[in-house]
């Protein structure tokens, strides 16, 4: 397990911007408001509008969340040592140690840190609770078009993957 470095891979070609991953993240992590997953759009000036002039238009999407960096800047920046990396590469935040100082959020180049209603830092855990039981992250399971994959493990749709 130690040589595995888990993270998510995103396939822009297969992303249709449906936001199922955003909702899946809320469901699995019981996030009433907000989500650790978001969908970036590459298009025009406003959220879902395309770039270009009718009919020469383009618009694309990409899911985006914590990259579980090999050398996480958030871990570097955290003054209280709350951010740590598991042997399998998953970067987690220890809520007990977090002081809510928000320095990690400034350090993250991917804008992946969120804060819970009490002000503590939180972010994608790669559904480590699922991975520990041999299951894919929930966004990976429910991404209907297969635009999100778990790197470091082979993904198969053919296995029963429920709970």
């Amino acid at each position: 397990m130690g040589d595995r470095q888990y993270s998510l891979a995103f396939d822009e070609r297969r992303c249709i911007g449906c936001r199922t991953c955003v909702i899946a993240c809320k469901v699995e992590n019981q996030l009433e408001a907000g989500s650790w997953m978001r969908v970036l759009t590459r298009g025009g000036a406003t959220a879902e509008s395309p770039a270009g002039t009718y009919p020469g238009l383009s618009l694309s999407w990409q899911p985006d969340t914590c990259r579980h960096c090999p050398d996480p800047p958030c871990r570097e920046a955290c003054p209280s040592g709350a951010v740590y990396k598991r042997p399998d590469g998953i970067v987690l935040i220890d809520r007990e140690k977090c002081t809510g100082c928000r320095i990690c959020a400034d350090a993250c180049p991917y804008d992946a840190i969120r804060f819970d209603p009490e002000g503590y830092a939180q972010k994608c855990t790669l559904c480590s609770h699922r991975i520990d039981r041999g299951l894919e992250p929930f966004c990976v399971k429910e991404c209907i078009c297969g635009a999100i994959r778990l790197k470091g493990i082979r993904r198969t749709r053919s296995t029963e993957n429920g709970e």
Binding site: G44, G52, L59, I144
Partner: protein, 761 residues
């Protein structure tokens, strides 16, 4: 903590996917839902953002919690809480009263929609009561409301089958996929992955439609067509394909009416020995089609029966008008692009044309869909995997004994309202009380007053009714116009089943109904008891499911309720892979062939398709001076009609409802992004903010479909649409005997056929 898992489905299943879900329950509360596996078919597993958010519906704070009685005017929003006993006693007393005064047929029960999932609770329990009571007001047209059944109608008129379908995943066999008039990336999300799979294997994705939507964004080629001009594009493609000899001659000769001689006198097929005749080039005379050595494909001939042309000749002549240059003028797409699209389509075999319902929401769109099917026929793309021009919805081949549940022995049965071959004529008849009045109206599990045309029409239709009852889980716009509102149970609060394509799926009760909600079975049983029909409602849901499965049809052979209960999801006894329609060249048309020329439509002048400007065309309609903009209300990913639109999570991942307007049109009206605007026409108005977007062409505006009135500053976009009883929105072909006699094809509302103007508020 003990967790239990129940099987069910998505409650927002009007996309006809019915994604199977596992419902996790802890201490009597649903913790989450997730996609469930289909036995032996991993690729069938699916869910989208709406299904995953389903528990938000169940635990929504706005759920109807107890029965309500109106105390103000209809629609005024003044309610009083009443007990179930009072609600049921009131309804039962009124039922018996109007039966005495006007007869049992003065009660109309409408309880079925694509949105209320479950064969029993969504449809058949109400149908059972209606039949037991002898309710009336049933339209000769099958549908009552929206009913996007023009694609099935076109299919019926051309191929003889309104339900012919290729499974969504059949596109992986296609070399070209034409998505015509739809946005599966938002509205049929589970199907879009198969399109992406096909693309990964090298298939070309062509999207035809006026809006740059999520599907267009994924296309290799987007044909940005002017709204409601699809027939002109298809006819121009037919023209190019015929002119350049790109059609499949053998297929056309063998499987279509191409060589049949059409009499110039009456437009009918010339018949010899009771069979359609062709011109035999060898004998130089007309002969029955099966007695000719070498039938002619093109030409004008003098036969014993008078001057005739082949049907193919007539199609060639009809299409000749639609040169790519003339089509460019009509559809707004460059002639060269039309030419190359036609050539590429003809060269890519197999290629599929996927007609979506968006293509069929304008008055003359049956003609468009017929022309699209002809494209598939000319290129030999009918009857082959990866080909076809199927109807968008998979009509399940599984046959249940619905009659056993809906129409119990001894029941008087429902009564048709004569003179109602279309829903528009049906509602007009009800408004006028002809030929008999409707005095009590049950409208259960439907939100027609938001989704199907504008409010004023309903007000007038409801006016002569003495009691309007609405059953739902929320106080919808429809429920607001009721006299009594009943709180329904959600699909996770009752036992039921569904048929989903090739599968039977059990819907298991996961939790007790919240609040005072009651299931449809409970409500209809309690009402039946009060009006003396209790004998018809002595069964459990499990009993009814047993009745359904005892159809004796091979598709459910060996599938008992016990098996369904144990396995939850069971594939019907069906061929695998599923049969491709017309693979054996068998067409259930009168001629047994593909009828691109339909002699039964001569009386309508529509024996061949052509382009006709639509009802509210900016080029033809006298309204266009005042209302120059085409007003669309296209569907979006977060809602299924109005379902899920009131769920916080769906709002969180969506823009607020905005009027999308092209910057050029906005500039003319001095409207900036984010400005408040009013969109209006003679029928109604809506106030909302503007979003300047290139995704809509100049001359067209779009408001996303589904959002509730609460989210608009004033009015609602549906009030700009046609009334449901507007007789000018009827296509006479769809009231013809052939269409009315079919089980699926029918007339429907024309939501994308509206003009409007926009001003800064």
């Amino acid at each position: 903590m003990t967790e239990k898992v129940f099987y069910n489905t998505c409650p927002a299943a009007g996309c006809h996917q019915l994604c199977a879900l596992k419902v996790h329950v802890e201490e009597g509360r649903i913790r989450k839902v997730e996609s469930a596996d289909y036995p032996g078919d991993p690729a069938a597993r699916s869910v989208c953002l709406k299904g995953l958010a389903a528990p938000r519906l169940v635990y929504h704070s706005d759920r109807l919690k107890y029965p309500l009685k109106r105390i103000g005017e209809r629609g005024e929003g003044k309610w009083q809480r009443i007990s179930w006993d009072e609600a049921l006693d009131t309804i039962a007393a009124k039922l018996l009263e109007v039966k005495e005064k006007y007869g049992s047929q003065s009660v109309k029960i409408m309880a079925a929609s694509s949105s209320h999932v479950g064969v029993l609770m969504g449809r058949l329990m109400a149908a059972r009561f209606a039949n037991a009571w002898g309710a009336g007001g049933v339209f000769e047209a099958k549908s009552h409301w929206l009913a996007d059944m023009r694609v099935p109608a076109a299919s019926l008129l051309t191929l003889g089958d309104s339900g012919q379908t290729h499974r969504p995943r059949d596109v992986v066999h296609s070399k070209m996929i034409i998505v015509w008039g739809g946005n599966p990336a938002e509205t049929h999300i589970p199907n879009m992955r198969f399109i992406l799979d096909a693309k990964d294997q090298g298939a070309k994705l062509v999207v035809i439609g006026p809006l740059f939507d999520a599907t267009a964004a994924k296309a290799d080629r987007w044909i940005a067509i002017r709204p409601a001009t699809d027939a002109a594009l298809a006819m121009a493609m037919i023209h190019v394909i015929i002119r350049e000899g790109l059609y499949d001659r053998d297929y056309v000769m063998q499987h279509t009416v191409a060589p049949f001689l059409v009499s110039e006198k009456d437009g009918r097929f010339l018949r010899q020995d009771g069979k359609p005749a062709v011109w035999d080039e060898t004998a130089q005379e007309s002969r029955p089609f099966d007695a000719a050595a070498l039938p002619a494909l093109q030409g004008t001939f003098n036969t014993g029966g008078g001057a005739c042309k082949t049907a193919f000749h007539l199609l060639t002549e009809k299409a000749a008008y639609y040169t790519p240059e003339r089509a460019e003028e009509i559809i707004g797409v460059p002639a060269e692009e039309i030419r190359s699209l036609a050539r590429e389509y003809a060269a890519a075999k197999p290629a599929t044309i996927r007609m979506y319902y968006g293509v069929s929401r304008t008055l003359n769109s049956t003609l468009s869909c017929r022309a699209m099917i002809i494209l598939a026929a000319l290129t030999g793309n009918i009857g082959v995997p990866g080909g076809g021009a199927p109807v968008p919805q998979v009509f399940s081949p599984i046959v249940l004994d619905e009659q056993a549940v809906a129409n119990p022995p001894g029941a008087p049965g429902v009564q048709v309202l004569p003179g109602t071959p279309s829903s528009m004529r049906g509602w007009a008849a009800i408004r006028e009380g002809k030929p008999y009045p409707i005095k009590v109206f049950f409208n259960a599990y439907r939100n027609d007053l938001q989704c199907d045309g504008h409010l004023e029409g309903y007000r007038e239709i409801f006016a002569p009714m003495e009691l309007v009852v609405v059953s739902d889980i929320f106080m919808t716009r429809t429920a607001r116009y009721a006299d009594i509102v009943l709180p329904d149970a959600t699909i996770y609060e009752r036992d039921d089943m569904v048929v989903n394509g090739d599968y039977l799926q059990l819907l298991e009760k996961a939790i007790e109904p919240l609040h005072e909600a009651r299931t449809a079975l409970d409500v209809w049983s309690a009402l039946a008891e009060r009006v003396g029909l209790g004998e018809y409602f002595r069964h459990t849901p499990q009993d009814y499911m047993r009745m359904l499965l005892a159809s004796g049809h091979p598709s459910v052979d060996g599938i008992t309720f016990e098996r369904l209960e144990a396995e939850k999801i069971v594939r019907g006894n069906l061929p695998s892979p599923p049969e491709i329609p017309f693979a054996r060249g068998n067409f259930p048309t009168p001629s047994g062939r593909i009828e691109f020329y339909n002699e039964s439509l001569v009386e309508f002048g529509e024996e061949l398709p052509f382009h006709r400007e639509t009802l509210e065309s900016p080029r033809r309609s006298p309204l266009a001076g005042r209302y120059p903009l085409i007003f669309l209300s296209a569907k979006v990913r977060a809602t299924m009609h109005s379902i899920m639109a009131n769920v916080d999570w769906m709002q969180e991942v969506s823009e607020e409802p905005l009027l999308h307007i092209n910057p050029a049109d906005a500039q003319k009206r001095a409207v900036a992004d984010g400005d408040w605007v009013v969109a209006f026409n003679d029928r109604g108005r809506v106030k909302l903010k503007a979003r300047l977007s290139e995704a809509v062409p100049p001359g067209t505006v779009n408001v996303p479909h589904g959002w509730w009135p609460e989210r608009f500053a004033e009015g609602h976009y549906s009030d700009l649409l046609h009334r449901i009883d507007d007789l000018t929105t009827i296509d006479p072909v769809l009231e013809s005997e052939t269409v009315v006699g079919d089980s699926r094809a029918c007339s429907g509302l024309i939501h994308f056929d509206c003009l409007a103007e926009v001003v800064k508020a």
